[in-house]
């Protein structure tokens, strides 16, 4: 890494000298000295605009003073500049008080009903830098209030001070310019376009940065005051972006979540799912006691000792496997990994509760585990290649970071995909159009450099050969690989060895020295040396009678491509289910053990970078136990020693293991499947999960669901004409298993393909069709 040489400029502010890099704004140079200049429109991550005029100061350059006070948020420092703020200049102070008085002329005095009351920059700065009295005697301008600019964001126009933070955010950061300032003068107001609501995945950020109560969130409206809330720094459990968050809790109930400030990861932003999808913890019908299936086949409440004994008995007497979803924390995943090896003596464990392949497993072991591509690598990259990855839908903060670089320095983004997505369009990316299954061939033709990055999504595993091609491309060009799964826990689970071919710290199971390493830490004589089975193989093995017991934690059996097989296996095997709420798994389980939800426990996630995002329990008085602790208890009952009663003990043990420094197992090259022959009514299906869909963790939040994108089936103009449909017509997509009927949207997509959302309202492809990518489906006009 090269250190950049920065020109420093020395200025005098209120009689104090300060040296700041060239280009720094006066307002921020003052911050360096601890001088707070009042401001509303200024935001360090948005372009300066000078809209509110609150930050007026007296400026003099080389003895020549500006005739009038200047907005310190728009003027960069210059050599020889002398700045006098409100602290030393009566002119600046009077100007600021005057601006404040003007801003308050039309601002309603409805602080008692306003959600911002108590944490309002306008309230605070009116107290610190305001006049105290108004000379205005007329009638205040009023607007009808509030108006919904989307189902989750409400606008009270009369409270607005026209700082343009929201419109600048939408334009500059999210590239969703759905809101703008309309009208002029006293009637100027934030507005939305006709027939185009503010349906942005990032709309919650405007609520957070609004310096008054003009924009408020529907789900937090009139709920609480800041002094009611106990704030806990936390991490987002929704995706692998790894946002820093703040969780605000009143009386054991989460009332809101805000984006935290971490310049290395999410800067000050997050997505709407992270911000608003937290009600599932209370909305779901939570399990409260252990349940055990009795002699007559019913699940009945049981005591913990009873349930643990039943679980231990069932697991001990049979060959067992472990399925842990991608939502487990790093420590919990480590617990499952250790439990499988130590208590069950098996490598049959898989965290990939989704479409996956053995090629992917090898790819993860060879190229991903232990790697460290970061957000700052994106900042420095000369080119970014997206493979099986739709950043806006699958990892929104990666999208924001790409967007920032696209805007700042026209970063070249190339997307290898079947359909041109809204996100790639916003990134002004090169769209390499391919038929589903043709990824490998196209990847091989890409020209990258050693400064390029290949962002690989979890969907790359769905096209055979893609990951082999990515590995080969990285090998030949020196480009860095970053694997970006969708779920928050997958990278952690990979590092914790919750997968058949790896032990904790990226140690290959096939390596005898690696097994000795781990066996020594775990105090066992030996560890199983086979490659272990993947999720789908485990289900198949249960159905074939090879495995008789399963430990399942946080898995939705309908997330895989063969849900019938999964459900049959769960029905057949002795299942110990660790869950927060009743599910398809608990219905079929023999022992159900309730576990703590994310707000009730501490732990960490590893985001796609491999960066630890640790969080403390936001709800302090929960009696629910973490998965880790319960696994330790089952193991003890079985006579094995997992011995991880607390998260701290797991963290210590993981640290003592360290990372693998030996050789990685090379990856077997997989060749792509041959492309199928298609009849006139046949298409190759492709899909991805949208950010806002029917996901379990989004339950109970209707305002959020209201901004989900419309469910459509996307078809190319040529094929649409061939089967005689146009946008808005109904299309019936069917397989041998079933069908879905969706509105057609004619758009830029490969002629052989049809796209539909994977898990949205009316389009649950894996359940309805049994396939989600690469399969041939029949499409007719309905």
């Amino acid at each position: 890494m090269t250190t950049e040489v920065v020109d420093m400029i020395t200025v005098v502010i209120d009689g104090f000298e300060v040296s700041v890099p060239k280009g720094t704004l006066v307002i921020r140079a003052a911050e360096q000295l601890g001088i707070q200049i009042p401001r509303f429109c200024d935001h360090p991550l948005l372009d300066p605009v000078g809209a509110c005029r609150q930050c007026l100061v007296d400026i003099e350059i080389n003895g020549r003073a500006f005739p009038k006070p200047q907005a310190s948020c728009t003027i960069p420092v210059e050599p020889g500049m002398i700045v006098k703020t409100q602290l030393t200049s009566t002119v600046a102070e009077k100007a600021q008080k005057g601006v404040m008085e003007l801003l308050l002329i039309n601002h309603p005095l409805d602080c008692p009903v306003c959600d911002k009351g108590g944490e309002c920059p306008l309230q605070n700065q009116a107290m610190s830098n305001g006049q105290g009295q108004s000379r205005f005697e007329g009638t205040k301008r009023t607007f009808e209030k509030p108006i919904n600019i989307s189902s989750q964001v409400l606008l009270d126009r009369e409270r607005c001070v026209l700082c343009a933070r929201c419109t600048r955010f939408s334009l500059q950061i999210a590239s969703d310019p759905f809101i703008t300032l309309n009208e002029r003068g006293a009637l100027q107001q934030v507005g939305i376009y006709e027939n185009k609501p503010f349906e942005s995945y990032f709309s919650g950020n405007v609520v957070q940065i609004c310096p008054v109560g003009a924009l408020t969130g529907a789900s937090y409206r009139f709920r609480a005051r800041p002094f009611d809330l106990v704030s806990t720094p936390s991490a987002c459990e929704h995706c692998a972006s790894g946002c820093d968050m703040r969780t605000d809790v009143r009386r054991g109930k989460t009332l809101r979540r805000l984006a935290g400030d971490d310049s290395k990861v999410n800067e000050e932003w997050n997505c709407d799912k992270g911000r608003w999808a937290f009600k599932y913890v209370t909305a779901l019908d939570r399990l409260t006691t252990p349940l055990v299936r009795n002699a007559s086949g019913e699940l009945v409440p049981a005591s913990w000792p009873e349930a643990l004994a039943a679980a231990a008995k069932g697991l001990k007497s049979a060959k067992a496997a472990v399925l842990v979803g991608g939502r487990a924390t790093y420590e919990d995943a480590y617990g499952y990994s250790k439990f499988a090896r130590v208590a069950l003596g098996t490598n049959d464990i898989d965290f990939r509760s989704r479409l996956a392949s053995d090629e992917e497993r090898e790819f993860l072991a060879a190229h991903v585990v232990g790697s460290s591509t970061t957000y700052s690598d994106i900042d420095r990259a000369d080119q970014v290649l997206l493979v099986g990855f739709e950043p806006e839908e699958e990892s929104p903060i990666v999208f924001l970071r790409l967007n920032k670089q696209v805007r700042k320095r026209a970063l070249k983004v190339t997307a290898i995909a079947t359909k041109l997505s809204i996100g790639v369009e916003k990134l002004k990316g090169d769209f390499v159009k391919i038929a589903p299954g043709q990824e490998a061939a196209v990847i091989a033709t890409q020209s990258l450099t050693a400064k390029s990055i290949i962002l690989v999504g979890e969907r790359a595993a769905e096209s055979a050969g893609s990951l082999s091609a990515v590995a080969a491309l990285a090998q030949s060009t020196g480009a860095k690989i970053a694997w970006i799964p969708r779920r928050a826990g997958e990278r952690g689970a990979l590092e914790a060895g919750a997968i058949g071919n790896l032990l904790p710290g990226g140690r290959p199971v096939s390596d005898a020295a690696a097994r000795v390493d781990i066996a020594a830490v775990w105090g066992t004589d030996s560890l199983p040396s086979d490659q272990g089975k993947s999720s789908s193989q485990i289900y198949a093995a249960v159905n074939a009678g090879e495995i008789a017991a399963l430990v399942v934690g946080g898995v939705d059996p309908l997330d895989g491509d063969n849900s019938q097989s999964a459900l049959a296996a769960l029905e057949k095997a002795f299942v110990v289910s660790l869950e927060i709420a009743p599910s398809y798994v608990t219905q079929r389980a023999d022992v159900v053990l309730p576990v703590a939800a994310i707000t009730e426990k501490s732990g960490s996630f590893l985001n796609w970078e491999g960066r630890a995002r640790s969080f403390a329990a936001a709800v302090a008085d929960s009696l629910n136990r973490s998965d880790l602790r319960i696994l330790s208890m089952i193991a003890e009952e079985m006579g094995a020693s997992v011995n991880l009663a607390t998260v701290t003990s797991a963290i210590k043990e993981i640290a003592s293991i360290g990372k693998w420094d030996g050789a990685r197992v090379a990856m077997n090259q997989v060749s792509p499947a041959a492309s199928p022959k298609l009849n006139s009514d046949q298409f190759i299906l492709t899909s991805w999960r949208r950010l806002l869909d029917l996901g379990t963790l989004q339950q109970g939040e209707e305002n959020l669901a209201g901004t989900a994108r419309k469910t459509v089936a996307v078809i190319s103009p040529k094929r649409a004409e061939a089967i005689g449909v146009s946008s808005g017509d109904r299309l019936k997509i069917s397989t041998a298993l079933g069908s879905v009927t969706l509105d057609a949207l004619v758009e830029d997509i490969h002629d052989d393909a049809i796209w539909a959302p994977r898990n949205s309202q009316g389009s649950q492809l894996l359940v309805n069709l049994g396939v989600a990518h690469g399969a041939v489906v029949t499409v007719v006009k309905a």
Partner: protein, 203 residues
């Protein structure tokens, strides 16, 4: 012998050695003295008493005595409380707990957008300082003169909104009901609504 206490010095006196002595009684008070003593209570029998036979008789308090709180209503029965929590914020004893909520068309509890959904005052904590009354922006919270605030459990001394709400008077309707036709929340605060309108009686 060193473990024994030192023997007493000749000049020091042990407590046990001090003899009991008769108290000096002085001279006899005589008959006049006794009469003088009895005269004082006797004379009081003819004076106006200050005490009352509480609880049979309840003396009125001073007009501005700080007693139990009351949540007032607008003249049409809608609640004045908007759930702003300023009373809770002002409370030095952390005795007040409020949760606000949205007024909806079917559930209009107060004029405007917001009402107090949960309102609790913990009288084990309240110090009756009246800062909450000063803080209240809508004059929803005032204090009555009621002082009989004793009970036999902690739970009973946490007063809920139902315990604190003012009774319905002449012309008031029990909320929820819609606002007075043609009036907005500002009209309510200005006192333009004098009583309920027949159209508000939705039950």
């Amino acid at each position: 012998m060193s473990e024994q206490l030192e023997p007493l010095n000749n000049k020091e006196i042990s407590v046990n050695d001090v003899p009991f002595t008769q108290m000096e009684t002085g001279e006899s008070v005589g008959l006049l003295g006794h009469l003088k003593g009895f005269w004082i209570p006797f004379s009081k029998m003819f004076k106006k008493t200050l005490t009352v036979e509480y609880p049979e008789v309840k003396a009125p308090t001073q007009e501005r005595f700080h007693g139990r709180h009351q949540l007032n209503r607008h003249p049409d029965g809608l609640e004045k409380c908007i759930g702003c929590e300023l009373c809770a914020w002002a409370c030095p004893a952390d005795a007040i707990y409020v949760e606000g909520a949205n007024n909806t068309q079917d559930n209009q509890m107060s004029p405007g957008e917001r009402y107090g959904k949960v309102y609790q005052i913990n009288y084990l904590r309240c110090v009756f300082c009246g800062l909450c009354i000063e803080a209240c922006p809508t004059r929803a919270l005032t204090m009555t003169n009621e002082y009989e605030l004793a009970d036999d459990s902690r739970a009973k001394l946490i007063f809920e909104k139902e315990d604190l709400l003012a009774p319905l008077r002449q012309g008031m309707l029990m909320p929820p009901h819609p606002m007075y036709p043609g009036m907005n929340d500002t009209n309510y605060y200005k006192g333009d609504v004098q009583q309920s309108h027949p159209s508000q009686d939705v039950k």
